[in-house]
Symmetry: C2
Subunit: 255 residues, 2 copies
DNA sequence: GGCGCAGCTTGACGCGTATCAATGCATTGC
DNA sequence: GCAATGCATTGATACGCGTCAAGCTGCGCC
C-alpha cells in the first residue's frame, strides 16, 4: 500500500489525475517536484475541523468523507470526495469539516505554501483550482437536492443515480456487464445512513423495499444491480436533475 | 426603485460591495465602467436553470433564491444569497439552478465576457471570485448540516442561528435593541418551508413550539426575538458549528 | 366601512421512520 | 474448528410530520 515516493511513481500518479491533463509540461514538472504521496486506512482522519491544513491534496485513489461530529453524538457527513477531487483550503483559513478516509485512500499532497506560490505564478493552476471548487459546489447542491426528499427510498434512489452519474469513471464503481448496470457502494451502511440523514435500520429497509419493487437487485450489501433506471429516476423526483443523455455513456449505442 | 445607471450611482454601489474593498483603484474604475445596475421584484426570475447567463452579478440589495422545480410540483431551494454575494458561472457552463428574487432585489451586473477578460488580466479579481465561491461552498455545507437534522424544530433553530451568524451585516436583518436580540426573517413561510425541507404547516408549528418553550418570541411572523440563545444552540445539535465567540459582535463588551 | 384575497395558523388523522431490541451472517483470531 | 466481533437485517412500538380541511388575520381595493 505505502508506495515509495520515487519520482517515477509520482509522475505516474500525477499523470492519472484527470484535472492535471491540460497543464503545461513545465508546470507539471514543478508540481511533480513538490508532491508527496500519502496513504490512509479506513476511518483514519486526514485532518480535523478547525485545523489549518499544511498541504492541499488531490485524491489519487479511494474515497474521502467530509464530516462533522454533532453534539448529540451523531456524525453528519456533508460530502464524499473521489479520485481527482481536491481538498484543503487554499488561500483561506482553517478547515470547517473533518476529513476522514472511507476505505483505503491514497492522496497526492502539496505543501500549501509552495502550491499557493505556484498558483500565483501559473494562472492555469489557479484556474484549475477554481474549477475544482465550482465542481464541489455543484456536488454539494446536488446532495442538498437529494436531502430534501421526504422518504428514505427517494433519497436512496437519488444517491444511486448520483453515483451512476458522477462516479462512472471512478475506480470502476459503475460498470455494465452483459447489458446489466452494476455498481459498487463504496461506503458502509452506517456511513451512508449518516449521509442520507437517516439510520442504518431505515436504510436497510429502503434498500430492500427497492429490491422488492424490482428497481434494484442486491447481490451483496455493497454490490447493486440497477434493474429499472426510469423508475429510480421517477422515484428520486428530480428526473430533470439529470439532463437527457446523462446515462448514455453507460449504455453505448449497441443497445 | 429603478435607479438610473449614472456613473455616480454605480460608484456608490460598487463602493458598498464588501468584497470590492481591497481592490486597486484602477481595477475599480474598469469595473465601474462595465457594470450595470438591475432590479427585480418579488418572485421575479433572474435566470433559469440550463440558461447560459450572459453576465455575472453581485447582489447590492435584497435576497436571491437558488431553486429547482421538482417533478412532483415541489420547489427545492438549495441556497439563499445576500448582499455582496456573487452569482453566475464565470469560466464555466450553464446554470444548474434557477435564480429568483425573494423580495425586491438590486444587483450589479457585469458582462460575462468583459468580466472574464478583466479577471484574466487582474489576478486580484480572479482571487476575489475564488474566495466568493469558497464562501458559497461553506454556506452550502452549513445548509446541508441543518438539513440533516431530523426534527423541523432542530432545522428551524439551525436556520435562525445561521441568520444570526452570517447575516449580521446584511440590511439590519439582525440587531440588538436594549439588550434584546431581534431578527427579521427575510422570506415568507412557504419559501422557508421549501428551504427547510418541510411544509408551511409544520414550519408554523415549529415556530410556535419554540415560542411556547420560551426560546423565541414571535412579534410578527417575520419579526423574531431570540430569548434563549444557548437553548437554540443546543437544539440545533451543532453548537460547535459556531466557533466560540461567533456571536460576540452581536453583543459588544458593554454587557 | 365592508368585501375579498393571500398567507399564517390550528385541528384531526394516517403514514413513515426513529428507536430499542434481537437475530442472522460473515470475517478474524486463537 | 470454535468463539468473538462487527455489520446488516428484521421485528415491534411510539412519535413526528405530511396531508387535507377549516378557521383566522392582516391588507388592499372598491
Amino acid at each position: 500500500m505505502n508506495r515509495s515516493n520515487t519520482d517515477s511513481t509520482k509522475r505516474d500518479v500525477l499523470r492519472r489525475l484527470p484535472s492535471f491533463g491540460g497543464l503545461p509540461p513545465d508546470l507539471l514538472a514543478e508540481l511533480g517536484a513538490i508532491c508527496r504521496l500519502r496513504s490512509y486506512r479506513h476511518d483514519q482522519l486526514i485532518a480535523e475541523e478547525g485545523e489549518r491544513l499544511s498541504f492541499v491534496g488531490f485524491i489519487s485513489g479511494g474515497i474521502l468523507r467530509l464530516q462533522k461530529p454533532q453534539a448529540d453524538g451523531r456524525l453528519s457527513i456533508v460530502g464524499l470526495m473521489v479520485e481527482g477531487d481536491m481538498f484543503g483550503r487554499i488561500f483561506n483559513g482553517a478547515l470547517h469539516f473533518t476529513l476522514a478516509a472511507t476505505g483505503d485512500v491514497e492522496i497526492c499532497a502539496f505543501s500549501r505554501e509552495l502550491f499557493e506560490e505556484l498558483a500565483t505564478r501559473w494562472p492555469e493552476l489557479e484556474r484549475l483550482v477554481m474549477l475544482n471548487i465550482l465542481n464541489e459546489l455543484d456536488s454539494a447542491r446536488e446532495w442538498m437536492l437529494i436531502l430534501t426528499s421526504y422518504r428514505v427510498t427517494e433519497r436512496l434512489a437519488g444517491f444511486l443515480l448520483l453515483i451512476c452519474r458522477r462516479w462512472t469513471s471512478v475506480a470502476k464503481l459503475v460498470r455494465v456487464d452483459k447489458g446489466r448496470l452494476r455498481l459498487t457502494i463504496p461506503v458502509n451502511r452506517t456511513d451512508l445512513a449518516h449521509f442520507l440523514a437517516t439510520r442504518p435500520e431505515s436504510l436497510s429497509r429502503a434498500f430492500h423495499a427497492l429490491a422488492d419493487d424490482g428497481l434494484i437487485r442486491l447481490h451483496t450489501p455493497y454490490e447493486i444491480e440497477i434493474l429499472d433506471l426510469p423508475a429510480l429516476l421517477d422515484l428520486s423526483g428530480s428526473e430533470d436533475l439529470f439532463t437527457p443523455g446523462s446515462f448514455e455513456d453507460l449504455f453505448p449505442r449497441q443497445a
